[in-house]
Symmetry: C2
């Protein structure tokens, strides 16, 4: 007699929300020369992070601080909120898992956009939730429609990535605040701000942290250049944040990574330099796309989606062609966004130029 | 209207299965000089781990391998099993959470020992499981009684730490295999081998990895000296291991930590050296306890429980007294084990000698 899994687990397929670059490299039998498909930061973290990691590694025999006190204290100061408004997790992915566990019971409705972040869907499915998928509109998550749909199905959660992955656009914080006025009580907006640092100032949500209608998610994986560290956090009302203490894995965070993230946060000069480089790279890519007769979508993130002007078949061919040339990019998963050859990843000028030349050859 | 948490979450208290040393230090307003209460390895990891971590940290901007391919490949070779018999997790704590999620539905019975690892209980409670607590017997987890109890209540899971934390003893692998013969089908034994490396050879379970009655858990936190890395793994039958793919956090592991763990595994000479030091330290502590009129329990782990010969009140006084002298130890949580002043942690000779002198002063 095999083990008796739960009913939900029995019903679930094995699932891989995101195939990692290393798996793709093993499958093709060769490494990528340009690793752009995971929206990592090739600019890397502050040199002070490297120093902090090296020092911390000498004490890797110690467990990390299970409440991440110094890091949460610094984040609280940074965001101008109390420490009890912040909880850490193993990247935003980890926090999405905790949110699903906190809120989703079998049959509960959850609203997101068709083609939005698959790992959120993975966790919602994993707790038996029923996903309602709202199509994008004009290459953006359709905020008013998401709210209306959440109200119509009495959703427990409604997901919005702001700025958005995979298209790169954003809603202003004021627009989101206004939309929240229409959201029925009892639905929580999961506001994934993984790219919050790279966004314009007006993307910031102008609501008090005590507002129980929304939970914001942040990470050190993108602009801070520490994807491998697995340090994310949620900012929200105290009752929401306190609930994580009932279920979270208290010792899930790597000790050195916590110390490194603190160093990253404290070097805002490096962050500013990176944000400037990202901004200039986005402009470069936009120009290169235009030069090649293609349209780059406006981006508030560390990647640019380039519209190839046809359908998903061309995009798939382009991704394959680039892979054959050792360049790793991704494309949006679903129509109509999949006409974009999602040129993910921060692109250094040098890499973007090389990419563009090659794209011109085959595109 | 506040967010609508799940029924289970509403019913759960906020819970801290283990208060970390840093929290204790903040509460007392001073650091510990000797950090022995978390069973960490003060011998530290191999110097090759430090090198590997430093090299890997330079690429912390990359996500880690979501299937931990090189590390699982090496572990599979090390244990003489196929890669599909191994799944990684954020320490054994993380894997215990996944196991509870895979198996435990509200009301399901789960058997463990009163005073055994609290984080297992935390996760079982967190999924609505009902814990059945079997008392220790003669300072050991009562294996036959655990099996009988699991059968009586048709438990989904029965937990056994081997070697045991907090008492340090162990059952031979043959004894466990024999006991499993009596276990009803449909109950999975969670065999926590966090201290597997420090145990005598005969603690090894003489069963094929395909055996679906048991899932073994291992970690790099103890003998390998990498508690801060958060790298644990489970070894078991393919259907069991495959189930984790339905629910686990695929990008939960720190990238550098995965690379460091591989270096740790590949330096078995360092491990042997550490095991020798642990063995000699255990003998030292035993001798010191005897010299002071106390009894050290036989230990197959990297810590020694010292029997103070009275009750929990004396043990609590001793823990407080040692804390006042900047020495962090823990004691077992429940009677009758709490008469032990659980002198956790690998103890270097120098530290153990100093400890012993102080224990003599106040004990």
């Amino acid at each position: 007699m095999p083990p008796r899994f739960t009913k939900i687990v029995e019903s679930l397929p094995a699932s891989v929300p995101f195939v990692g670059p290393e798996t793709l490299e093993r499958n093709r039998g060769a490494p990528f020369q340009a690793r752009l498909g995971a929206n990592e930061s090739v600019f890397g973290p502050s040199p002070k992070v490297q120093q902090a990691l090296s020092a911390a590694d000498r004490e890797i025999w110690k467990y990390g601080d299970s409440v991440s006190y110094p890091l949460r204290q610094a984040l609280a100061l940074h965001h101008g909120v109390g420490m009890d408004h912040i909880v850490m997790g193993e990247g935003i992915d980890g926090i999405l898992g905790y949110i699903a566990r906190l809120m989703v019971e079998p049959g509960d409705r959850v609203v997101t956009s068709a083609g939005a972040y698959p790992t959120f869907n993975y966790h919602v499915n994993g707790y038996g939730g029923v996903l309602e998928m709202q199509p994008y509109r004009d290459d953006k998550e359709d905020l008013p429609a998401l709210i209306a749909r959440a109200n119509a199905c009495q959703a427990k959660l409604v997901y919005l990535a702001n700025p958005d992955n995979p298209m790169g656009g954003y809603w202003t914080g004021s627009e989101i605040a206004l939309a929240l006025e229409d959201l029925n009580p009892g639905t929580l907006m999961v506001l994934d701000e993984a790219y919050g640092e790279t966004a314009p100032k007006d993307a910031e949500l102008p609501l008090p942290v005590e507002d129980e209608r929304v939970l914001r998610l942040r990470t050190f994986s993108k602009a801070y250049g520490m994807a491998g560290a697995r340090i994310g956090y949620a900012i929200g009302a105290v009752p929401l944040i306190a609930a994580f203490e009932k279920i979270r894995h208290h010792f899930g965070l790597n000790r050195s990574a916590q110390i490194g993230a603190l160093a990253a946060l404290q070097d805002q000069d490096h962050l500013a330099m990176v944000l400037d480089q990202i901004s200039r790279s986005r402009a470069d890519i936009t120009r290169i796309a235009q030069t090649n007769g293609l349209k780059a979508l406006p981006s508030a993130t560390n990647f640019v989606a380039v519209d190839l002007g046809k359908d998903g078949n061309l995009s798939r061919a382009m991704v394959a062609e680039l892979a054959a040339r050792d360049i790793f990019v991704r494309m949006p998963f679903v129509a109509p966004q999949d006409r974009h050859q999602g040129r993910y990843g921060i692109v250094r000028k040098s890499i973007s130029r090389r990419l563009a030349g090659r794209a011109h050859c085959c595109g």
